[in-house]
């Protein structure tokens, strides 16, 4: 009797395992299929990789200008390299400051004003020639420069340097600096640093006193009474200024290079930048882009959205639009629609790819952006400036 029952139950168990396996595979297939329905099928797209189509660029740009676009589209690119007065071709960051543009390069700070470039280096008082990040205080007009050798306050021509040796700065390698009222925040190789310009006091946040995995921090931004720190391996660390409390947002899937469950949180723990605007936090990683509206997370990848590449160096949100610097060009998005700017490998031309809903249109442009490996971007009024690993680009809003 007992043997009969065991045999019967073992058959049921085997059947159950097979059923569950088939069901799980079906679930995976369904998930993939659903996911693919959310983005574009390649065969519907008009691809303009063929150089023979380049002569059509003028007509296409005109068409774009006439069209109504949900997000701004930039064109009429003008590129600058060391041949045009930049101290070096490698530009890490760019910031529009009134009538001038500040560019952080590997060879110093370059300032573009009235059509001319002027360079400032350590000889002028800069902490280090490698300028990785720039922000301008809205309160005081002071320019804060995060360099590879310390933090520099550039105020009306005067360079004042804060280093890990002469101040409470956590580390001399500063990947990101922002001004938030009277406070200055830095993301450094030795933790996040907070400098109160009123009290002149420093605070350091590392894995010792904040929910970080490592002391390395790559990005920092402010918004909604909070500071959002992109912490290497630690996702996003949120600091509420009022309560002085931390919380972290990490990838629920763990430190994996695939997003197992979509939109369950930040897409990866290795974050490279944060930017907050219009109630949305945008998070850059080397494995995709995330957006957090305070309640829900949304992930974006090159395979399921218009994102040019999952490898994101920098993100800046301006109003509803995020500008995403990737290794394969610049992407811009409002979360639904996309515009990408890329450059051809073999010449100075490139294309602007516009994705609205299920439609994808590409337009040739010449010249295009300076290089596809984009590192920094800033936008103001009708102008966009882009820092790349080979030069700086200036674009204008197409009407």
């Amino acid at each position: 009797m007992m043997k009969i029952k065991l045999k019967k139950y073992s058959k049921i168990a085997v059947f159950s395992v097979v059923f569950l396996g088939i069901g799980y595979m079906g679930f995976l297939w369904y998930g993939q299929n659903i996911s693919s329905l959310n983005h574009l099928s390649e065969d519907k797209l008009t691809m303009l990789d063929d150089p023979q189509l380049l002569p059509e660029k003028t007509a296409k740009l005109t068409a774009i200008e006439k069209d109504s676009n949900p997000i701004p589209i930039y064109g009429h690119w003008q590129n600058f390299t060391s041949k045009d007065g930049l101290p070096g071709d490698k530009a890490y960051c760019v910031r529009i400051n009134g009538n001038r543009v500040l560019v952080g390069t590997h060879e110093g700070l370059a300032v573009y004003e009235q059509g001319k470039w002027r360079t400032y280096t350590t000889k002028d008082g800069l902490a280090h020639n490698g300028v990785l990040s720039i922000d301008v205080s809205e309160l005081t007009g002071d320019v804060w420069l995060g360099t590879m050798g310390g933090l520099t306050r550039w105020s009306a021509g005067n360079f004042e340097n804060f280093t890990q040796f002469n101040s409470g700065l956590p580390n001399d390698i500063i990947y990101s600096v922002i001004c938030d009222g009277k406070d200055v925040w830095t993301a450094t190789a030795g933790g996040a640093g907070h400098y109160d310009t009123f009290t002149k006091r420093w605070e350091i946040f590392t894995e010792q006193n904040a929910p970080m995995h490592e002391p390395w921090t790559y990005g920092v931004c402010a918004g909604d009474g909070k500071i959002f720190i992109a912490a290497w391996g630690g996702g996003v660390v949120e600091y509420t200024k009022k309560t002085k409390k931390f919380r972290d947002y990490v990838d629920p899937d763990g430190n994996m290079e695939m997003d197992l469950f979509p939109d369950d949180g930040v897409v990866h723990d290795i974050t490279t930048g944060t930017s907050w605007a219009n109630g949305n936090l945008w998070v850059a990683t080397y494995f995709g882009l995330s957006r957090y509206d305070g309640v829900h997370w949304k992930g974006y990848f090159d395979h399921d959205s218009g994102l040019a590449s999952n490898f994101i160096n920098f993100v800046r949100a301006v109003g509803p639009v995020a500008f995403i610097c990737t290794d394969k060009g610049l992407s811009t998005t409002d979360g639904e629609n996309w515009v990408n700017y890329t450059k051809n490998d073999q010449n100075n031309a490139g294309k602007t790819i516009i994705i609205k809903g299920n439609e994808k249109t590409a337009s040739a442009m010449s010249p295009s952006i300076s290089h596809n490996f984009t590192l920094g971007v800033d936008v103001k009024d009708h102008v966009i400036w882009l820092a790349t690993s080979k030069g700086v680009s200036r674009g204008e809003l197409l009407k």
């Binding site: 005081t140 105020s155 002469n166 590392t206 010792q208």
Partner: protein
């Protein structure tokens, strides 16, 4: 009692007296000699044992409450003076027609400056030791508001539209911009180092802010100080004009036409041995002139003379016709009168090279200084009547306002503010401290290198060329922290300020002993610390400072190893002075130094005394350990994380005046608590 008995008793007493007198006198002589380092100082017990007492009752008995007028303003109709009584924490309203004090209005602690609004109905007073500005309704003579500022507000100015008040924060080196409608500080702009004076250009476009301390620079490099230019419309810093080889720019004024901005300044010669004072050039004193046009020149002219110096220029005012400037040379009790047209001519006729030479020319003042008007002790703030016919001089250590006729350039009256008539010993000492008459050719006063009785931030070469480069130390409350001098060679202030001082530094007759007694009494007891409002306003430490305190008192390193007792912070720097008053080797002896130990400095208000170490090599507290403490000889610190070092520095910056720790028994208990935890 029989006469013989009386004689017997008297004789006995006399004999005992003789027996006590001679050895007693010998002991007293030895004691006084050891304290004064001379063998002929009068055996006057009260010199040390009365005038330097700090018990409250005795202190009140031997001292007096002076007003010490510091700055002043004149009403629009010229009938009222508004005088800052710095030591009385008050604003005095003075009837300028009848020379009478009408009201004494209590304001914050240690007020610095006063300005009036354009209508003349409101006065703003910066309270330097309260970190705020008192707003006074002049009709009712009442304080109607108190506005929060940065640390150590000094000079004040109103924006051209009078909607904003600018307060120059001398201690935190920035400028508070206060919205007068919301009564809130809306921003702080970084200025030069230790700013005090400010003035808005006549066209209302640019605010000038002076600085007193020079920008940090290694010894040997030329120093410079910043004049910060602020755009009044955007309220952002538009320029920082570097004033080369100069510092202590106390105040600045514009000509009415706005063609020139003129500030007072000192050109120190700290790179040459200070022993060479008899050869001239310890300090030179003058004015800086900034042309207000595109590409305008920055010129410096000395107001000294070849054999007579006019140190510590403080305030400057310019007559309504723009032809005459008056400078208070506070170190020699003189108002220097400057012919501005002569200065304009000199500038017009001189090449840039010539002007550069003039900045060091002691004779050039004969071309533009037209008169020296002697005043009472320590002239500071100046103000002109609206018609420019009268010049009012705040005589800080005279408690008077001197009135000068600007046409005849003669003193016509003095307004007694009603302070004590007697001059106490400490007051006399303060006068001596501020006066350069005891220095060869009046080159400098004690105050010159110790402005505000603190320190000027510079390093001086006190021995032969290149030997013993030392940073100036603060004199605040040093009375109980012997020995003195960087190497602790002076066991008392008597020795420090007595014979050695005149022999090595002033190169003149030494102080007579009455004056030396007075100077020592003042230095020992008369110089107070400002409250540490920036880092420790109420005595309660922040979390970071508490962690830093634990590190300061720790006996074990991060790995649990015992730190040798002589390498713990607390061993050499115990409260209340945070000095064990002993000598130590902290591994920072320079090759050019005599081979000696260093006096362990007190750490009270140490945040206010950069640069650090005996020769000022460390620009910040952090550098003491990050750059100059790599061998762990100056405390055991190299196991600390950066967060811990920040905490330690944060705690050090929180240290206050010694009295706080003497009165706070919790400190030792807290120390024990942290030690045991």
């Amino acid at each position: 009692m029989k006469t013989s008995d009386k004689l017997m008793i008297f004789g006995l007493i006399f004999m005992v007296g003789l027996l006590v007198y001679f050895p007693g006198r010998k002991v007293a002589r030895m004691h006084v000699n050891s304290k004064t380092a001379v063998d002929d100082h009068p055996l006057s017990c009260i010199s040390c044992h009365l005038y330097t007492r700090k018990e409250e009752v005795i202190s009140k008995m031997i001292n007096a409450d002076y007003y010490s007028p510091f700055n002043l303003a004149v009403s629009n109709n010229g009938t009222r003076l508004y005088v800052i009584a710095q030591d009385a924490d008050a604003l005095l309203v003075v009837d300028a027609e009848n020379n009478k004090v009408l009201h004494k209005i209590n304001v914050g602690i240690h007020p610095h400056s006063v300005i009036l609004n354009r209508a003349g109905k409101m006065a703003y007073i910066s309270n330097q030791w309260s970190d705020n500005v008192s707003v006074i309704d002049l009709a009712s003579s009442k304080v109607i508001d108190t506005l929060k500022t940065g640390n150590g507000p000094a000079g004040l100015a109103l924006s051209a539209n009078e909607q904003f008040l600018y307060a120059v924060n001398a201690f935190s080196s920035n400028l508070s911009v206060i919205d007068l409608s919301s009564k809130k500080e809306i921003k702080r702009l970084t200025t030069g180092n230790n700013p005090t004076g400010t003035a808005l250009s006549p066209n209302g476009k640019v605010l000038y802010v002076t600085s007193r301390r020079a920008n940090p620079a290694p010894y040997g490099e030329p120093l410079s100080s910043d004049m910060t230019l602020v755009n009044d419309k955007t309220q952002t810093v538009m320029n920082r004009t570097s004033i080369e080889s100069a510092y202590i720019m106390e105040n600045v004024a514009f000509t009415p036409s706005g063609d020139l901005a003129i500030m007072t300044l000192i050109r120190p010669k700290n790179l040459i041995p200070s022993l060479q004072v008899e050869r001239g050039w310890m300090n030179t004193h003058g004015i800086g002139i900034i042309e207000q046009k595109e590409g305008g020149r920055v010129i410096q002219l000395l107001i000294d003379e070849p054999n007579s110096y006019y140190p510590d220029p403080f305030d400057i005012v310019i007559s309504p016709d723009g032809k005459t400037a008056f400078v208070s040379s506070s170190g020699v009790n003189v108002i220097s009168v400057i012919d501005i047209d002569a200065v304009r001519t000199l500038m017009a006729e001189s090449s840039p090279e010539m002007l550069k030479r003039f900045s060091n020319n002691l004779g050039i003042s004969s071309l533009f200084v037209t008169k020296r008007i002697a005043t009472g002790a320590n002239p500071k703030g100046l103000a002109l009547s609206p018609d420019g016919k009268l010049l009012y001089v705040a005589e800080q250590l005279e408690d008077k306002i001197t009135v000068i006729n600007t046409e005849s350039l003669e003193i016509i009256s003095a307004i007694d503010l009603g302070g004590p008539n007697r001059i106490t010993v400490a007051r006399q000492g303060r006068r001596l401290f501020n006066n350069a008459s005891h220095t060869f050719q009046n080159q400098y006063a004690c105050y010159s290198c110790h402005p505000d009785m603190h320190e000027d931030g510079l390093n001086y070469n006190l021995a032969a060329a290149g030997r013993n480069i030392v940073n100036v130390i603060s004199l605040r409350e040093i009375g109980d922290t012997p020995p003195y001098k960087w190497n602790g060679k002076n066991q008392s202030i008597y020795k420090q300020d007595g014979m050695r001082f005149s022999r090595f530094l002033t190169r003149t007759e030494t102080f007579n002993y009455d004056d030396l007694d007075a100077l020592v009494a003042y230095v020992k007891r008369g110089i107070k610390y400002p409250p540490n409002l920036m880092h420790n306003p109420n005595g309660e430490l922040t979390e970071s400072q508490l962690r830093g305190k634990a590190l300061f008192y720790r006996s074990e390193d991060n790995l649990g190893h015992v730190i040798p007792e002589n390498n713990r912070c607390i061993t050499c720097h115990p409260p209340p002075y945070y000095s064990n008053l002993k000598l130590a080797d902290v591994g920072t002896l320079a090759k050019t130094d005599d081979s000696i130990y260093f006096d362990t400095p007190h750490l009270n208000n140490i945040y206010a005394s950069p640069p650090y170490l005996h020769d000022g090599r460390a620009e910040t507290l952090e550098e003491i350990w990050t750059i100059y403490g790599l061998e762990d000889k100056h405390g055991y610190v190299n196991d600390m994380t950066k967060i811990q070092l920040n905490d330690l520095v944060d705690y050090l910056k929180s240290l206050r005046d010694p009295e706080f720790y003497q009165n706070n028994s919790n400190n030792q208990q807290q120390a024990l608590y942290y030690k045991s935890n």
